[in-house]
């Protein structure tokens, strides 16, 4: 019986507290009596009854509170609107930005166990650069002597033309991979087998194709394995099909990437050729031991091959850091800005509830006096807060989805990172964010509810709405200071980031990107165009036909074009001696005659490349202004100097060339400074594959592609059709990442500022209401509307001034942090600071002017009526 009663006491907790206080004792006695009379069945019945009826009663209470809250919402629509919008914006922006940030920074890379993948970097100790490209012998040495890594794998991105029985020839992206490659990624074939160590031996020609290629080009034919395909005129046997969604680390492109086909990486192809192997390995443990191991290996290599490897060393870094590292700073800046917006929003909601709460002290005191319990009042106020925050939350969800889709639509097509191309709201992340915002908002609402649910009855009822709740005042001042400070720091951060970027972006690029289309030609058979003369003849023939197309002003071949690709070369100036391996590096663009004219790059001295520069004529190059200044003693002095250009990265033999012209500097990326550049004639540094045709015309990129397609088809129909883009388009994407970050920062700054202004408006407005009587007295004693207005606005500015000062200090700290982060070299300078102060002060002025005018209109008779 005692146990049954104890359990009953426990079950009673399902009932609201009031009901327990009122009827708990009676229910207990009734329970005891009925169990005595009717036994255990009665006890079970009573438990069930109390549980269900109790919860029902609770629900009814919440329902009543909601009705009250809805009525309150109808009474003060502006307040409701501000609270709901504030919550919606905070949740929406948070959900969206954190969704993105987590997508980029926190989402694991889509490869098996990414945290144990180590990238190896080759370090040139003399020239002080680090590259991801290793030579084949270096790879062999690392693989052989390694004692700390598992699966040292090598990869070289390649391309090849697939000529299938049906459909046009197509250029595919491939990868030559070492035997450990698939094992390291833990990949399992869908059919057949993947490549392994035995495939590194010459003799057979196996190829593994991707799931996507299997579906798009071979109709997911289940009998494909074992059949022969021709890639770049070479017959290969399909050994197997890679798993769907198979990604790998490509450090050349600095991302996780995919390929259409995989072929074995062989010593016979890569030994002695330029450094091009990307090395990735598994490491279970830290990297210090790996570095020591690599240094030993390279010391041995340097001893064995002093002429080539004397300056080389290597180190390891986690793949995650190598790939995500560059994106982290701007993501962190964004995340912090969003956090600031969230804090401002919470302070705002708390402030609004505080202000309104104090204006309701009278009402609450009355209800308290009429017998409502403290707990009931608190529950009621919290129900109200929850209603507002709930509606705001729902709107916020919609807003977040809209923001993410807008951003996704902007970057989808051109996203530089393959697996980010389909951005979406990550609902799990989003739910977590939404919950945290709702909790924060509820917390903001709880403080006033707590303060309110124990009012000082006597004074509250006596003074009506006017003189009470002084306790909230300090809290409100703190909240406003916080809001203003955070808003200012976000605005300043956005301003600094935007200014530093546009300072750079507004500098001339050194060429005209408008009106230029670029068509990519690839897949010309390397066997057919194996000599300089043949390659040169092909390019000339195609270009002549394109030039005949109406509407085309000029055209030129190039291997790299601003925004599209880049390559470096080492070179030597004739007459200067260099220690082995200490030759300087410069950017190199291999171009045809007409390139400078087509891109609008000015020729500063000497002559342009001409059609007369042929494979057999004297070697010539043009250099950029900064190259001439840095290496050749100035623009005029550069002419006639002789360079040996190695072009090691392009697998071309060194060639002695005379400088015949100096061109203006070109910035190859919106965010970069100009670099010393060599323009080498494509006729003398022959290439047939992977070349680009730059065309200045009034035609669209597809029209240019059509013209080139027709030209190619008439010259060599086995070359796959080209694809084209416009330089303006490439320029847009070149700047997009940074521009998007800056845009989001600016939007966040605007939101933070708007919220802070709304907060100040609420507080000043509330203050005016509270001081109606005091203002009435002042007016009665002769204060003019003007002095009252000034008084109110001055108080508001005084309230905000601490926030402004604090905000500027925060902004200075942010600028200091940004310097390391965004590669932004801009402290908060006087003009920026003054502009921000002016904007914020003006905003505060406007926010306080409206309530101030209301105060100035106070009629003393009304204000003093209650005295």
């Amino acid at each position: 019986m005692r146990a049954a009663l104890a359990l009953f006491g426990l079950v009673l907790r399902a009932c609201p507290r009031e009901m327990r206080e009122e009827y708990g004792e009676a229910m207990r006695e009734d329970f005891a009596a009925s169990v005595r009379a009717r036994g255990p069945a009665a006890a079970l019945h009573a438990y069930a009854d109390v549980l269900f009826a109790g919860l029902g009663e609770r629900g009814a209470t919440i329902g009543r509170d909601l009705v009250v809250a809805l009525r309150g919402m109808r009474r003060t629509p502006l307040f409701a609107l501000v609270v709901i919008l504030t919550t919606a914006i905070a949740i929406g922006v948070n959900g969206a930005i954190y969704g993105l940030v987590l997508n980029v920074v926190l989402r694991p890379l889509p490869v098996t166990d990414p945290s144990t993948l180590a990238a190896l970097w080759e370090v040139d100790r003399v020239r002080g650069y680090t590259t991801e490209a290793f030579g084949y012998d270096d790879f062999e040495a690392v693989r052989r002597s390694d004692r700390t890594l598992r699966f040292v794998s090598a990869l070289v991105p390649v391309s090849g033309t697939l000529v299938a029985s049906r459909g046009a020839p197509v250029v595919l992206r491939g990868a030559d991979v070492s035997g450990e490659f698939f094992a390291m990624y833990g990949a399992r074939p869908q059919a057949g087998r993947l490549l392994d160590a035995r495939d590194e031996r010459d003799g057979t020609h196996p190829v593994v194709i991707s799931d996507e290629l299997w579906h798009t080009r071979f109709g997911a034919d289940p009998t494909l394995v074992g059949r022969t395909v021709r890639i770049d005129d070479a017959p290969m046997t399909i050994a197997g099909i890679a798993p769907p969604q198979f990604f790998f680390v490509d450090l050349h492109r600095g991302q996780v990437d995919h390929a259409d086909y995989f072929t074995p990486l062989r010593r016979s192809v890569y030994a002695g050729s330029p450094h091009s192997l990307v090395l990735v390995a598994r490491r279970y443990g830290d990297l210090r031991a790996v570095d020591a191991d690599l240094q030993r290996t390279f010391a041995a290599l340097a001893a064995a091959h002093p002429e080539t490897d004397a300056n080389l060393s290597a180190r390891a870094a986690w793949v995650t850091d190598s790939i995500l590292g560059p994106m982290r700073p701007s993501m962190i800046a964004l995340a912090l800005a969003v956090l600031a917006v969230l804090a401002v929003a919470c302070a705002n909601v708390g402030n609004l509830f505080l202000s309104r709460a104090s204006s309701r002290t009278g009402e609450i005191a009355t209800r308290f006096a009429l017998g409502a319990s403290r707990r009931r009042l608190f529950a009621q106020l919290m129900t109200e807060t929850s209603l507002y925050v709930g509606i705001g939350g729902l709107l916020g969800c919609a807003l977040a989805a809209a923001i993410v889709h807008a951003i996704a639509a902007t970057i989808d097509a051109g996203a530089p990172v393959v697996y980010l191309r389909h951005l979406d709201v990550d609902w799990k992340t989003f739910a977590a964010t939404a919950v945290s915002v709702v909790l924060a908002a509820l917390f903001a609402g709880a403080a006033p509810a707590l303060a309110l649910s124990r009012p000082d009855l006597v004074s509250a009822m006596k003074a009506g709405d006017r003189s009470s709740a002084g306790g909230g005042r300090a809290l409100r001042a703190v909240l406003i200071t916080l809001e203003v400070a955070l808003a200012i720091s976000v605005v300043a951060t956005a301003a600094i980031a935007a200014r530093s970027y546009y300072d750079l972006a507004s500098q001339p690029l050194g060429f005209r990107s408008d009106g230029i289309s670029v068509a990519f030609m690839s897949g010309a058979s390397p066997h057919r165009y194996d000599t300089a003369a043949r390659a040169d003849a092909l390019l000339r023939a195609i270009r002549e036909r394109v030039a005949a197309t109406p509407g085309i002003e000029s055209s030129a071949w190039a291997t790299t074009i601003p925004f599209i690709g880049e390559s470096q070369t080492s070179f030597t100036v004739a007459g200067t001696t260099y220690a082995p391996g200490q030759e300087p590096d410069a950017d190199v663009d291999i171009v045809s005659d007409g390139y400078l004219r087509t891109l609008g790059i000015p020729l500063l001295a000497g002559r342009d490349l001409s059609p007369a520069d042929r494979p057999g004529t004297a070697g010539v190059v043009i250099v950029s202004r900064s190259f001439a200044v840095r290496y050749l003693g100035g623009v005029a002095a550069a002419l006639g100097k002789r360079l040996t250009v190695g072009l090691s990265a392009m697998d071309l033999p060194p060639r002695l060339s005379t400088v015949v012209g100096v061109a203006g500097d070109v910035r190859p990326h919106v965010e970069n400074e100009a670099r010393p550049t060599i323009y080498a004639p494509i006729a003398q540094f022959p290439r047939a594959g992977w070349v680009k045709l730059a065309v200045r015309s009034h035609l669209s990129a597809p029209q240019v592609a059509d013209a080139l397609r027709a030209a190619i088809a008439s010259v060599d129909p086995t070359i796959p059709p080209p694809v084209a883009t416009s330089l303006a388009h490439e320029q847009y994407y070149d700047a997009l990442g940074r521009a998007l970050t800056d845009l989001m920062l600016a939007a966040l700054a605007a939101i933070a500022l708007a919220l802070a202004i709304a907060g100040i408006y609420a507080v000043v407005s509330y203050g005016v209401t509270r001081r109606t009587r005091e203002i009435g007295v002042r007016v009665a004693f002769g204060a003019t509307p003007r002095t009252i207005t000034v008084m109110v606005m001055r108080d508001a500015l005084r309230l905000a001034s601490v926030g402004i000062a604090l905000g500027l200090a925060l902004a200075a700290a942010a600028a200091w942090a940004l310097k390391g982060f965004l590669d932004v070299d801009a402290p908060v300078d006087g003009i920026t600071a003054l502009t921000i102060i002016a904007i914020v002060a003006a905003s505060i002025g406007i926010a306080s002017y409206l309530p101030a005018r209301r105060a100035a209109r106070v009629a003393p008779a009304v204000a003093l009526r209650y005295e």
Partner: protein, 113 residues
């Protein structure tokens, strides 16, 4: 939205409300006695659990259909029907009677006498 009292008096009553009003029709009772009376009168078919009982009592008190009276026992609160409560119970009884006679007319129940 709460309706005015008049319209509420015309609405059908919840079974537990009606049972409590019936149990109080012939005199004042305390809570447990009401439950016991309901159970006895229905032959055990209707058992009002403690929470249902007091939840309903609370509502009936708020509506002014029953009232608390001072009992002999300090600890037990005793309830009595108010005049309005009696009218409400009568109205509900009439409503039910009409329904029952309709059922008889359609031979769902045997004719009287």
């Amino acid at each position: 939205m709460r309706r005015p009292a008049e319209s509420q008096e015309n609405a059908p009553l919840s079974p537990s409300s009606f049972h409590i009003l019936l149990a109080l029709a012939d005199g004042e009772r305390h809570g447990y006695a009401i439950a016991k009376e309901v159970e006895d009168a229905t032959g055990g078919a209707t058992v009002l659990g403690p929470a249902t009982l007091y939840r309903t009592i609370k509502q009936l008190l708020a509506d002014g259909w029953i009232t608390e009276v001072d009992g002999d026992d300090e600890r037990r609160r005793v309830y009595r029907l108010t005049a309005r409560g009696r009218r409400v119970a009568q109205a509900e009884a009439h409503r039910l009677e009409t329904l029952v006679s309709m059922a008889r007319a359609r031979r769902l129940l045997p004719a009287l006498g």
